[in-house]
Each structure stands twice: as C-alpha cells, then as structure tokens.
Amino acid sequence: MSADSLYQQIILDHYKNPHHRGLPDDFDAEVHHVNPTCGDEVTVRVKLTGGAIVDLGWDGEGCSISQASTSVMSELVVGKAVDDAMALQDKFLSLMQSRGNATLSEADEDELDDAVAFEGVSKYPARIKCALLGWMAMKSAVAEAGWGAGTNSAGETA
C-alpha cells in the first residue's frame, strides 16, 4: 500500500474496530440515512443534555470509508457541545469539498484528529458522499432532537 493510499491505516483500523457502533436504548432522536447511488446506509441515535451530545451510537452497512468515517465522527463528537460538533461537521464538510487542495492549519488538524485521514477522499467525487454519510446523519439526528429549535422558534411563537 503506497503512502498516499486513500486507505490510511487509521481508516482500516476504524473499519475493522468501529467505535460507538451499536444503538443505545436511551436516545432523543434516531435517523436513518441512505446514499442511493451506492447503497451505503447508516442509523444514528443521539442523546443531548444541556446543549451537549452526551451519547451517540450507530449501526450501518457500506464501504470502509463510510463505516470508518462514522466511527471517527462518533469518537469526535460524543461529549462535545452541540455547537462545537456542528462547527467540526462544517470543517469536515469543507475538507471533503477541497478537491485534494485543503490547507489545514495545525489547529484544524488537532481538532479533526483522525478525520484528517480522509483528506484523500476529496479527490474522488464519487466517494465524498461515503465519507459524509455518518456526519450528515449525526447533524440530522441532532436537529431532530430539537437542537436549534429554540433559535428558530420565533416563527412558532408569533
């Protein structure tokens, strides 16, 4: 395997030993996302308390990129303030859209941690959705759990 392989050892490790895999019984929201073009699927459950993601578990099927990325995502966001998790999701999204030309600061690299290993995916348009699947599901689940509703509630109370 060459050094610039898409399949960094970190990715293979997460794929073979996924973190937070399994669906917790105590949760605020569950979402199921599918990538129709390749059939990758993921189910994510989240539990929020005091503006933080206190628990997240998932189950899924698909390629190593989608599975490993979901594993890395769950490692990174569990225990984080929702706002921070969203900021990180945004950062990862930008990395995926960088077409292999991302310039990450050291701070970015620290924050993204294992997720940096997916940088190479951004060169393959067909795979970007795989790497994003779990992250997108996490974002939806958090929204489903009511996060952001407060800030959006102006219209509802009118």
Partner: protein
C-alpha cells in the same frame, strides 16, 4: 473601422479553417449565425480529454473517472459564471438549444400526470405566447405542447422594420398566459428584443418566461439575473463551441419542482421495478451519458470568448454591422429585411435583390469563396410576414474583418452583373 483593442488578425490565427481556400480563393465565412467556426483551443480541448483523461462521468470511483468528472463539472462552473447564474446547479447541459426548449415543453406537459406538479399544468383556456420572429425551434415545441394539453398558441406580431409591435406585448401577454418564450436576438432579422420588458410583463401576469439566447450568447454579454426571465437557453456550436451541446439555465426553485423530462441513468435517485425517484437539478435533467467532451470543450469556448471580452466582441461586431449596412444599402435595389440601422440589432443581416433568388445569390457568392446562407433560416413565418420566399443572410463573428465585408459588397454586385 474596427474597434480599438480588438485584434481581429490575431483572432483569425486561432481558427484553423480560416486558411481554407474555396474554389481557389480564400474562404470568407459569413455564416456564423448558422454555426460558428472553432478556435484551435476548443478542438484541442476535446482531443486532449479523449487522449488523456477520458472515462464516463459521475459513475466511476477510479482516477480517470474523477478527472473527467472534474472537467465536466468544471465546465458547468464556467457556464454558470458566463451567465452570471446565482448557482451552478441551475445550469443544465443539453444537446442544443432545440432540446433545451423541448425539455421545458415536455416537462410542462408531464406536469399533467406527475404527482405534485399541479402548479405547472396547462389546459384549455391557458395560453402559450411566442413572437412572430421565432426560430422554428421556439415555435414547434410550443405548438406541440398546445396540441398535447389543449392550451392555445399565440404570438406577438412584428412590424415592417422587423421589430415587435410594442403595444402588442401587453395585449397578447395576459392573465391567461402561462408561458412566454421569446428570442433575444432574431436569427432571421438581426433584431435585438426588449427582453427585460417582456420578462417583466410575463412575471406581472404570473407566466413563466423563457429566453432563446441562441443568437445573443455569441454576440453580447448575457446576465441571467439582469434579464430577469425564468429560463435562458443557448446553443454551443454558435458560441465557437463544438456541435452537440447546449445549455438551459433556469431558476433553481422552478427546476426543483419541474417534472423530469428524459428518464434514464444519472437522473434517478433510486430505481425499483415498482417505481423510481429522481435526483435534484441539474442532474435530474441530464439523463444518460452526457456529451462529456463537448461540454468540456464548451467550457473552453466560454473561456475563449471571455478572454476576448464580450463587451469588446459586441463593439467589434457593432462597427462591422454599421459598415455592412452602409455598404449593402448602397447597392441598387437591395432591400434589408430587418432593422436598417445598427441600433438594437446584431451582426446578422438579411436582404433580398429584385429578380435574383437568394439561392442563386448565395451560390454565386460561394463561387467567390464567400459563405452566406440563403433560405428562410428556420424562421419561415418571418418570410411569410414579408411575402418573400427567402432571404440571403450574411452574419459576422469575432473573426470577421471589414475587408471581408468589402468582398461581400462587391460580390453581390458581381452577382447582379451575371443576372443583368
């Protein structure tokens, strides 16, 4: 007489065909409104893709597939910038503008049976409006749509000078109107229409507005936001791009709700034998393997004209048009069909000569190396309007020189001598 800052001799070197000889004399190509010639960069762009980066787009995970997808989607970015489109996802690649217009006409008739598309349905009592100076490609699809749905087909008439009858705009476009499709610059007359005015009227009555910019795109700056219509379409081969590719731009919120047109690969979300769902625009409207290399080369053509500058091209051609109108109108008996001055008109001049059929004019000009078109230019209602069977049409492009116009004028005189 050509405008400052536009080096037409340098431009000519970019077009290999301009060194051709016809009947032993150098080619003078005055048929760009029919189809424009191609600069070497456009030709090379297709060839390079095939020789070095080719595969199918979108579907592949391998390196060539990624490269070609970047190139294809990159062309979409270029076209979006060229049109000043708010979003790249509003740019749909079609085969030509004819397909773009049919796409809309069929999508609208599919609304009759497509769940959730009620707002686009047409039926008896509804009206579809075009103008009397449309190209057949902007007439027949709407006549067919009227036939399929029972809607009424109407048009804004033209006056003796080849302009829309101004008062008819508000008379013909009414609350009954559902679709207004009109040409920006006429290919038969050269007339440039008041597109903002018509688009505004359409919006005021709640109709969809569609601009046929086939003859505008090569000649003047196109800004879809400034035009204010719902859809704008053009065709690549007239914009110095390859044959086989065109563009439909549409407002995203409309594209997102319109039913699909062609069904097949790439436009679907999921397919099961029990039923299928469709992906988002623009891919929803790009069924099957697209004209990959052609879209990429169209991107190159857009780069090419952008580098020359659309304002500079417009100035160059305006000067040529004024010069040609003067020269031609000095010919005994020659009648211009369309506006006789260079105000609000493009670099396309139709004319007739008493007693000499346009086919003979064009054929005899060809024998002098001059390529012009003769016929009804796919706008037969215009000929019917003026009671003539056909016209001879000279049309100019970035590579046209004033010397070539001199040759045209003396060529026409020579034709008159032969038939004297």
């Amino acid at each position: 007489m050509t405008s400052v800052g536009f080096d037409v001799e340098a431009v000519r070197k970019d077009f290999p065909i301009l060194s051709r000889e016809i009947h032993g004399v150098p080619l003078i190509y005055l048929d760009s409104a029919n189809s424009a010639q191609k600069p070497q960069v456009v030709i090379d762009s297709e060839a390079d893709l095939y020789a070095n980066h080719y595969a199918n787009v979108a579907r592949a995970v391998h390196t060539l597939g990624s490269e070609v997808t970047h190139a294809y989607e990159g062309a979409r970015d270029k076209v979006a910038a060229f049109l000043n489109a708010p979003s790249r996802d509003e740019v749909i690649f079609t085969r030509n503008i004819t397909e773009a217009l049919n796409l809309l006409a069929y999508s609208l008739s599919n609304a009759s049976t497509f769940p959730g598309a009620q707002r686009f349905r047409l039926g008896p009592g509804d009206e579809i409006v075009v103008t009397e100076m449309e190209h057949h490609s902007n007439i027949v699809p709407w006549q067919q749509l009227a036939q399929r749905t029972g809607a009424t087909f109407r048009w804004i008439p033209i006056d003796d000078e080849g302009r829309l009858v101004e008062s008819a705009i508000d008379e013909v476009i009414t609350e009954r109107t559902k679709v207004v499709s009109f040409v920006y610059q006429s290919n038969a007359l050269g007339t440039i229409n008041p597109v903002r005015r018509i688009a505004e009227r359409a919006r005021a009555v709640g109709a969809l507005s569609i601009v046929d910019a086939a003859q505008a795109a090569p000649h003047l700056p196109l800004d879809v936001q400034d035009i204010g219509a719902d859809f704008v379409a053009f065709t690549g081969h007239k914009l110095y791009g390859p044959s086989g590719v065109g563009v439909l731009w549409g407002r995203y919120e409309l594209l997102a709700d319109l039913p699909p047109f062609l069904g097949g690969g790439e436009m679907i979300e999921t397919v099961a034998m029990s039923g299928s769902t469709f992906t988002a625009p623009p891919h929803r409207f790009e069924a099957g393997t697209p004209m990959i290399a052609q879209a990429v080369a169209l991107g190159t053509a857009v780069d090419y004209v952008t580098a020359l500058g659309m304002d500079e091209i417009r100035e160059h051609e305006k000067a040529l048009t004024a010069y040609a109108l003067d020269g031609l109108q000095a010919i005994d008996g020659l009648r211009i069909i369309g506006p006789s001055t260079s105000l609000d008109r493009g670099a396309t001049i139709s004319f007739t000569l008493p007693g000499i059929h346009p086919h003979d004019v064009a054929q005899l000009l060809d024998e002098q190396g001059i390529a012009v078109r003769a016929g009804h230019h796919c706008a037969r209602p215009v000929c019917l309007r003026y009671g003539i069977p056909a016209t001879t049409r000279a049309s100019f492009g970035v590579y046209t020189t004033s010397d070539e116009i001199d040759a045209l004028v003396s060529g026409v005189k020579h034709v008159q001598e032969i038939f004297a």
